[in-house]
Symmetry: C2
Subunit: 223 residues, 2 copies
């Protein structure tokens, strides 16, 4: 029986679209960040606060990936930023082809920064390039401090780790999260990873992240 | 070009092992529950507390699925229950073949109940039968109340929904979780789903779940 390497085929078709996306984004000097996490870690809340904090300085657009519903795109649009919802109807990650279609609907010429909020899944999305400049992984405090050890791939591949919901570190029932363990485990996998502990809900320590992000976008524009 | 239905092929090979597992479990009148959730919803903590509460009545074994590490199997073994760790090394769900190997290592003849703790992923594991009697989905409060709407498949397929970390409902920063919305959305997808709000950490409302579970195991044994 002839063996067919299906994994390679799928990745190659995806890579073709990823390359197209990368070219389009580079042409317009747009920074593109692919945000990956478990369901419910707070990706959309991070995005809405980031947009509000930076909207006088940076034009941000968002591509929202979800299995079903347009709940997240509606939350982004409420901030005034353009958002395109992709529904995967069961698929566990976004593909570069889907992102390509979404980019065609965004007013890219006006954008400085495009966030892709991937489907909530700490595993599968890390294997599919979408044409982004960098991946960002979000880990929220209630998920536990063992996640970099147990799900290493996405921590190894990300430019930034946002540790969200640090407001819950202060509650009596949330004492099991050792933030230093998370930092050490993430850096063991990825020496240069930038780590920002934040609370997207309360805004605690959000300035460091926004400052870093504004600089990243400025550097690309002035390159 | 000839099209090959790869999805069907993989599912069929998996279904063969799932059937074998189902037969082995039925032969020994063992209840088998496949536990599925996002990373960090508290599956292992639910299991360790359930084992402690029921160990005088029910003999429980656990099959632990993780991408890497044996952290979870060590936590189960500390309760005195047998546990077999499966590492998937990147794969986003357990397969029935892996469960078959693990069952061969468990003292199944002595067991009343086998829990399979799947890889932390709210999407992919729902598509792969492992030979279990039922699926159980765990949703934790900090993940948010929009998850049944956004990830419907696993809520539609599960016998039980455990809403974990209800202790966090009481903290000032956790007021955004509408438990009635979760119940209503889950029942829209799955009319007969059993729903138990619990805190595996504090033990709050854990009795209802343990009582229901003991009855489920007893009914199978006396069938």
């Amino acid at each position: 029986m002839k063996k067919i390497d299906v994994g390679k085929k799928i990745l190659s078709a995806n890579e073709k679209y990823a390359r197209q996306n990368r070219q389009l984004l580079a042409e317009h000097k747009i920074m593109c960040l692919n945000m990956i996490s478990s369901p419910g870690s707070g990706k959309t809340t991070i995005l809405t606060r980031t947009i509000k904090e930076l909207k006088s300085k940076i034009k941000i657009g968002v591509i929202e990936g979800d299995i079903q519903t347009d709940i997240d795109a509606r939350r982004i649009k409420a901030t005034g930023a353009p958002a395109i919802q992709i529904n995967t109807y069961g698929a566990c990650h976004l593909s570069a082809a889907q992102v390509s279609e979404a980019l065609a609907k965004l007013p890219v010429k006006e954008m400085d920064l495009v966030f892709i909020e991937n489907v909530g899944n700490l595993i599968c999305p890390s294997a599919f390039e979408l044409g982004e400049n960098y991946k960002i992984v979000v880990l929220s405090v209630p998920e536990g401090d063992d996640k970099p050890a147990k799900y290493p791939a996405i921590f190894a591949k990300s430019k930034v780790l946002l540790i969200n919901k640090i407001d819950l570190l202060k509650t009596p029932s949330q004492v099991d999260f050792d933030i230093e363990r998370v930092k050490a485990d993430a850096r063991k996998l990825n020496k240069g990873i930038e780590i920002f502990p934040v609370s997207a809900k309360t805004g605690a320590r959000f300035d460091d992240w926004c400052h870093w992000l504004a600089k990243l976008v400025k550097n690309l524009r002035c390159d």
